[in-house]
């Protein structure tokens, strides 16, 4: 990439370019380390100039992320990163803006901004580190904690049902909704790239282990022995297959997803549900797999939904350009005087 006449070809970025000389201070074994590593790994491949990346985060263990990426960044206030990112993107559409947030940050205190940014569809990437707990404040239950959760603030168990972030994002008319997890590094890298390439608000929920306050919450979906039977990785245009020997699939029985054994009772790959990331209704069904415990549906990962829709900043810019083109930019003196003036003379 040539920048200007005299400057030589820009140096090729590597993951090292994104690691600042700051000590990373998450607890040992925290899932956040992996997310940082995968992000630093894919960033050089995105073709964006280093100075054009911006991270905006709220408050929480997860939100410390901003300090650990050697890009521009703002570690802001609890829950408001999405709102700050909206203003930044509206005024500087050319920047690559990334929001890092937690389950408390995005869904509790920042819930209002979260749903609205999805609806407005700024071209921003939101990474929600879901550890189903408030990490930074030392272990209270969060809006994604399962009912009955025993924490410091709920010593006898929480009494409220959790949000399913993917469902919420779809309900808020998100145009890109995906899920991945800290311990599946390759999958995460793939999802992060797809999130970047999607034009519009990309929402990525990342299951993240908090070994200190909520250990092993997602190991079922990442441990070798249990992963294959309990997780399904959806891909656009591919059938929903899972199981220890890729021997199970998901079929649609009317409106009901059903787990079927492949090559039994005459069921073949051709009978399975083929994932279509443009299908909003089916994306909602996938996001809701966990609500049918009797059927033992696996936990879905991957891009559930991705559609093209005009972004807020493009619409805003288009409107400004159209009106500027029609009316022409008035001089400041014209604005100061307005349309109706009168003279007082002596």
């Amino acid at each position: 990439m040539i920048e200007t006449n005299n400057i030589p070809v820009a140096e090729k970025l590597t993951s090292k370019n994104f690691a600042p000389d700051q000590d990373v201070k998450w607890c040992p074994g925290c899932g956040d380390y992996s997310i940082l590593k995968q992000t630093q790994t894919i960033f050089p491949d995105l073709g964006v100039k280093k100075e054009d990346f911006v991270f905006i985060s709220g408050i929480g263990c997860s939100s410390r992320f901003t300090y650990y990426m050697d890009t521009y960044g703002m570690h802001s206030i609890h829950g408001r990163a999405t709102a700050i990112a909206s203003g930044l993107k509206a005024s500087r559409p050319e920047l690559s803006v990334w929001v890092v947030t937690g389950d408390g940050d995005a869904l509790s205190i920042g819930g209002n901004h979260f749903i609205h940014i999805l609806r407005k569809n700024f071209d921003i990437n939101i990474l929600l580190f879901n550890n189903q707990i408030y990490g930074l404040t030392k272990g209270q239950y969060s809006p994604t904690s399962e009912i009955g959760k025993i924490t410091k603030s709920t010593p006898f168990g929480s009494v409220e049902q959790p949000f399913n972030p993917a469902e919420l994002a779809l309900g808020a008319r998100g145009t890109f909704v995906a899920r991945t997890l800290d311990r599946d590094t390759k999958h995460m890298q793939g999802i992060l790239k797809q999130a970047y390439y999607h034009k519009g608000t990309s929402f990525v929920e990342i299951y993240q282990n908090c070994p200190v306050f909520n250990d092993a919450a997602f190991f079922l979906f990442s441990d070798k022995e249990t992963k294959k039977d309990n997780a399904v990785f959806v891909e656009h245009g591919k059938p929903l297959i899972f199981g220890a020997n890729d021997d199970k699939g998901i079929m649609l029985d009317g409106y009901k997803p059903k787990v079927v054994k492949l090559n039994e009772n005459g069921v073949s790959v051709n009978d399975l549900w083929i994932h279509d990331e443009k299908d909003r209704i089916k994306a909602n069904m996938i996001a809701g797999f966990q609500d049918d415990p009797e059927e033992h549906l696996p936990r879905p990962f991957g891009v559930f939904y991705a559609v093209d829709h005009p972004t807020y900043e493009d619409n805003m810019k288009e409107q400004i350009n159209r009106i500027m083109g029609k009316k022409g930019k008035p001089s400041l003196n014209k604005i100061l005087s307005g349309t109706k003036t009168w003279e007082i003379d002596r």
């Binding site: 521009y72 570690h75 909206s86 203003g87 509206a90 005024s91 009106i323 500027m324 003196n333 003036t341």
Partner: protein, 618 residues
């Protein structure tokens, strides 16, 4: 044409238009005002709306009023009492009669005084103020405006509803005749407003002319007014409301600084008009963002400021409370931001459509932590321009959020404005850092210049990547620091940076009166016009008084303390329960005396005068 009526020459007149919310009194008042302004009069207006959008028709709570004082001399208030009251129904008379001058003129629409309207206005059964002697002290003109309008528009094929809607134009035409003002300005306005609806336009014009002719032809009216020739400062004028002035001030600051303008806002009375107004200026590249709440509004503005825009957020008291946490962030990040609070009666939803000056202490202290911010107050509708422009200049040149206090009275009120030209405006210096600012080639985001201001670097600047945030920063490097001594240093540094702004604002002047006197009246914000009028009148009577009006409330102008020493007594009138007085007493240790009105209304000139006289006596 031979005139049969008595013509009274006056310097100024106060007119109050009062009617049901649906009677179009605001539009009528604005038209009357614009015409007067156009014909070279100075003026000041005071619109008053009910809090409900559609309060029950005919009731006292549904009354909407528009007061204007206009004249040939300089006018600073909408007037204490009116010379002429237009009462379109019984409720309007009931609400507004109390402030009509004894001997004043009442113009009534008799169809608004039928059984039903009298009952709705809660007059006792069988009582009609137009029929008994209760209005004997006034000159009352009774006419069936509805009926007269109907006659004037007969044969035009209009529905009753459309005819009803034109009756305010009849009244306006009559008022033009009474005050010898040409209706041409309004005819032009109607034609522009109803382009493509020629029947409606014609109906309104016909009603307007019918009103004029009614005054001219019938011999009911025995008084007309003529305003003496104007002695205003020569120049080119326009009419402006406080909120429009605030909006164009932001555009002006954007042009002068060369930065794109971003406004993040959430609708709230009486601030929404700034959002409305700026949203019209797409051709100037203005980006307005109606956020999901006030928190998002200020946060989006902080984001845009980080990106390099001139950023602003506009609101009123309740919204200001929601913005408090993010203001702390803006202060910590040391990013420029203009925050405009159009105050209204509080706390909570309070009196949403009424005025108050009760957010001064909030602006000064209403945040967590040690968090001083500059505060500037606007004094009049047109002064909202200079207050907001100054706020933008200080925000950009000193890298800080700045709070502007206006209020419902001046935000909605209007006056003629001898507007500045581009060349008259102070330049605004903005610099984006693009190179490392230390010897060893490292960029130090919190290294300060002689103003104690840190460098502004925007994302996209090659080689200066760095992080900022709300955690305490190490001096110069901006790295996170929890070190005890550093925190104290930084708290003091941020305070000193705001104090230093005093070197870059004008010194305080004595507005009227002498440099030394028995009594000083010290005001701030929208009380300016009333105080100036009251003090001007008393000075003419020889009172030993002076008036200082503070625009820069934080930091104060450097000479304010010295000025205050020149007066034996200091009176601080405020539309609140005593806020500036706390700050003045604390800062200058003087025994100032407060004078407070908390009724959702501005002071009247006579209230101020009698308070001053009382203090001068003992």
């Amino acid at each position: 044409m031979e005139t049969k009526e008595e013509i009274i020459e006056v310097e100024s007149v106060v007119v109050k238009f009062s009617g049901d919310s649906g009677d179009g009194m605001q539009l009528t008042g604005m038209q009357f005002t614009d015409t007067a302004a156009f014909l070279g009069k100075d003026l000041s207006t005071f619109p008053e709306y009910p809090a409900e959008i559609r309060a029950p028709v005919g009731t006292v709570s549904g009354v909407s009023g528009f007061q204007v004082q206009f004249g040939s001399k300089e006018i600073f208030t909408a007037g204490d009492q009116y010379d002429v009251l237009v009462a379109m129904n019984a409720a309007a008379l009931k609400v507004d009669l109390k402030n009509l001058k004894k001997g004043g003129i009442i113009i009534t629409n008799t169809s608004g005084f039928d059984q039903k309207n009298l009952r709705l206005a809660e007059y006792p059964e069988g009582e009609n103020p137009l029929d008994d002697d209760s209005l004997d002290n006034y000159t009352v003109y009774k006419m069936n405006v509805s009926g007269l309008t109907k006659d004037a528009l007969a044969g035009m094929g209009l529905s009753n509803k459309e005819i009803e809607r034109s009756k305010n134009m009849f009244v306006l035409g009559l008022l033009y005749w009474i005050f010898d003002q040409s209706p041409d300005f309004t005819i032009k306005f109607i034609n522009e407003k109803f382009t493509g609806e020629s029947v409606i336009a014609q109906a309104n014009i016909n009603a307007l002319k019918a009103g004029w002719n009614y005054g001219d032809n019938t011999e009911i009216f025995n008084t007309r007014f003529k305003i003496t020739a104007s002695n205003l400062t020569p120049g080119t004028y326009r009419s402006i409301t406080g909120n429009s002035a605030a909006a164009i001030a932001l555009i002006a600051a954007s042009e002068k600084s060369g930065l794109p303008l971003f406004l993040g806002s959430y609708p709230i009375t009486p601030a929404s008009d700034i959002l409305h107004e700026l949203s019209k200026y797409k051709e100037c590249g203005v980006r307005t963002f109606q956020a999901e709440d006030e928190i998002a509004a200020i946060c989006s503005a902080i984001g845009a400021s980080y990106g390099g825009a001139l950023s602003a957020t506009t609101t009123s008291g309740p919204g200001m409370s929601l913005k408090a946490e993010a203001l702390g962030l803006g202060l910590m990040l040391e990013l420029p931001l203009v925050v405009i609070n159009i105050q209204r009666g509080g706390p909570s939803t309070g009196l949403p459509t009424k005025t108050e000056q009760s957010d001064l202490l909030q602006a000064m202290f209403g945040r967590h932590g040690e968090s001083p911010l500059p505060v500037i107050a606007a004094e009049s509708p047109s002064d909202c321009f200079s207050a907001v422009y100054e706020a933008a200049r200080i925000a950009l040149e000193h890298m800080t959020p700045v709070i502007v206090l206006s209020d419902g009275y001046i935000a909605n009120g209007s006056e003629p404005w001898r507007f500045p030209s581009e060349e008259d405006l102070k330049p605004i210096e903005v610099k984006f850092e693009t190179e490392p600012n230390s010897e060893n080639g490292v960029f130090l985001p919190y290294k300060r210049d002689e103003k104690l201001v840190r460098p502004r670097v925007i994302p996209g600047t090659k080689g200066l990547e760095h992080r900022i945030g709300g955690l305490e920063k190490q001096h110069e490097t901006g790295d996170i620091s929890y070190e005890a001594k550093n925190h104290e240093l930084m708290v003091k540094m941020r305070a000193a940076k705001i104090e230093k702004i005093a070197d870059y604002i004008p010194l305080q002047i004595v507005d009227t009166g002498k440099e030394k006197a028995k009594l000083l009246v010290l005001g701030w914000g929208s009380t300016y016009g009333t105080l100036k009028t009251a003090i001007g009148e008393l000075l003419e009577e020889g009172a030993d008084i002076a008036h200082i009006h503070i625009k820069y409330l934080n930091p104060f102008p450097k000479n304010l303390g010295d000025l205050l020493k020149n007066y034996e007594k200091v009176l601080i009138p405020e539309i609140n329960n005593g806020q500036l007085i706390k700050i003045i007493r604390d800062k200058f240790l003087i025994p100032a005396v407060g004078f407070n009105k908390i009724q959702g209304l501005p002071f009247t000139t006579s209230e101020i005068k009698s308070k001053i006289l009382e203090l001068l006596k003992n």
